[in-house]
Symmetry: C2
Subunit: 405 residues, 2 copies
């Protein structure tokens, strides 16, 4: 069993990097705050005697050697980046639960057969650079390295130059190698476990996602002199689109999700009829056929904007099929949960995770712990020390089980 | 008659300050670009032998002395600031047509009875600091100096500190003094004059305006895990409001205008259900009763957002009654137009202008010249050298007529 108190202290200390006044964190990937968090993680790893290697996308690999370094290692980890005004557990909990598992093995002087690898993946959130899970996507061959390095944030900074700026562009190619098994611990980010007072979610699947970018082009005009009938108002067209997207979500309830999270108005001046709007759209659903239908509905909504004499460009930038995790890994997690005497349920993740990509190249599954009211991507995100400790115990047991194979 | 060629050259030279790739200007008030434009204007004034005085709001007063400095001066002028991605004539045309009138009087060695005062007003656009016509509003007693100095731009910079930064915070209080008559030349910013091939708009009135700020507060949530039925999506509420505001504009057609020009989404991340939206709303109408009804309709639309469990705060930040210009000034402009043999029509301004505020303390009217297709608050804004020259000739004649009284 892990040292729950040390894990909690470590989580608290990490939460200072990018801390916001209302108890959350803004630790955008490859920001100065992220650099400080990475440095601290590396420091902790080194204190515990673990080597840390960084690849060309800034993914950090922390290794606790086993008896037989020639065998494929067992992997765990998650991400240290956050949303803007995000929570202090999303992602980093999985990294630090992994660190705690490795530290505990040191404390107990347990030698595993296989190496254990703790990974801190770059840009999981997709908040600074779209899409999400970009670096684990490159590592598993979904995206090219060149594509990832050239992604730009809102200010036009590329991921590649951001890596350079914070000194986390490593030498090692970001390419998958043989992994025996992978487990990612994460907060649920939904309300189910807490509501039903269940200790652990055994995640057997994840919803698919499709992300889009939309450019709506109208004509900037004077708000005082331009009659209503003569306007090509990009913002009013955007408003129509936003309500159509919301309706698509309702049409595919209860499992579907449809969200516009980001919108930028040009020139964004109070007395100018907006000339252009740039926005995101994203859909989620556990069934691929539903995603295809949601996309068709979006295309129809976009076409309707021609009635407003708006020119609209729609681009799909992310297509991520629903995921089924590995039965063997799921079984190991269930064995661990049972051995520890925790309550559990099988569940589907509505969020995307690095583990979803790793699952393409290695047997993988996930361990969820509850979070208060399911609140996430919000400064109010919260978990309890007990939940945190239980999740890390399950992770430790699953890792050791796989590493002794 | 003025030197039309010199006026055009001066306009072209000024358009370099804040020039945008597509032929417009972004010269936000009190920006570095505005400083350069102000310095150049002062330089031109000094070369022509005119003294330039700056008041505590950065308004620049350029004086050509008349025979009797004890008499109330005759005023002209407009503003040098622009919208973001705005046009190169909106505002600055009136300043430089005024400069050209003063230069012409030098060339022709004409001494007027009264002093002539050319004013470059600060922050007419209301783009960087809301509301519009802020500094002429202080000068005429509509706003207090403290209110104006404390207005903040999007980055939280106050107007007062922006004035300091560019070195245009003068000593002189921004307070009206006796003015015998005031004329402001401006581009129409609407399509009427060009469409009917009329040289000059004799502006006898201006529409009223009401500006608002709206805070829509929902709850930021994870786009993947939060069911559609559990969301308090501030952006979808905003979309509903935007379409309601547009409808209010149509309900008060043809004279009404309703616009949301600015919106900011928080946290504005692709996979986060938006927690908050901050936006502007503005209405225009030549009748005050209509503005009152438009406001009531806005209040109803805001209340409806409670159905979405959104908390909405609505603040009116600008209430500017319809304006009737001075009959005597209008008559002088018409006399000038007739003497010059130009075609003209009386018209109402849909835009607000510094002259609308000056009209509260001194007899005032405006002179409009055509602009291509009525395009304004847009980089494509355009006028012809002939239009420009005609407007300056009318201004010169009106000024001299008033200054010889
Ligand atoms: N776990 C998580 O919040 N990941 C971000 C990507 C997503 O929105 O699914
Ligand atoms: N003339 C002009 O565009 N002024 C800006 C204020 C307004 O929008 O009416």
């Amino acid at each position: 069993q892990v040292n729950g108190e040390r894990l909690w202290r470590t989580l608290e200390e990490m939460a200072q990097f990018g801390a916001t006044p209302r108890g959350g964190v803004t630790r955008l990937t490859l920001s100065e705050e992220d650099r400080l968090a990475r440095d601290r993680l590396r420091g902790w790893a080194q204190e515990a005697g673990f080597h840390c290697e960084v690849d060309r996308l800034g993914n950090m690999f922390i290794r606790r050697p086993g008896r037989n370094g020639a065998l494929a290692p067992v992997m765990t980890g998650s991400h240290g980046d956050s949303q803007p005004l995000g929570g202090r557990y999303d992602g980093i909990y999985g990294v630090l639960a992994g660190l705690e598992a490795l530290r505990t093995l040191n404390d107990l002087d347990i030698e595993t057969e296989r190496d254990l690898l703790l990974v801190n993946w770059t840009n999981e959130e997709g908040a600074r650079f779209a899409p999400a899970m970009l670096a684990s996507g490159v590592w598993t061959g979904v995206f090219s390295e060149a594509f990832a390095l050239s992604r730009e944030d809102k200010d036009g900074v590329t991921l590649g130059s951001a890596l350079q700026s914070i000194g986390y562009r490593g030498e090692k190619p970001a390419e998958a190698f043989a992994v025996h098994a992978c487990f990612e611990a994460h907060i649920e980010q939904g309300p189910l476990l807490e509501a039903e007072a269940i200790d652990i979610g055994v995640v057997h699947a994840a919803a698919g996602q499709r992300w889009y970018e939309v450019d709506i082009q109208g004509f900037a005009a004077h708000a005082g002199t331009t009659p209503m009938t003569h306007r090509r108002d990009a913002l009013c067209g955007f408003a129509e689109l936003a309500l159509a997207v919301e309706q698509i979500g309702f049409d595919f309830a209860p499992d579907g999700r449809a969200t516009i999270g980001m919108a930028q108005v040009t020139p964004n001046s109070r007395n100018v009829v907006p000339g252009a709007v740039f926005c995101s759209v994203e859909f989620r659903h556990p069934q691929q056929e539903a995603l295809v239908k949601m996309e068709a509905a979006l295309e129809a909504a976009v076409e309707k904007l021609a009635e407003r004499l708006l020119e609209v460009k729609l681009r799909r930038i992310f297509d991520y099929a629903p995921v089924l995790f590995d039965a063997g890994c799921i079984a190991r997690v269930e064995q661990a949960v049972n051995a520890l005497g925790y309550s559990h349920t099988r569940m589907v993740s509505g969020a995307g995770h690095d583990a979803c990509y790793v699952n393409r190249v290695a047997p993988t599954s996930m361990i969820f712990i509850p979070c208060v009211k399911g609140i996430s991507h919000n400064e109010e995100e919260a978990i309890s020390p007990t939940w945190s400790e239980h999740g890390a115990n399950v992770l430790l047991n699953a890792l050791v089980s796989a590493a002794q194979d």
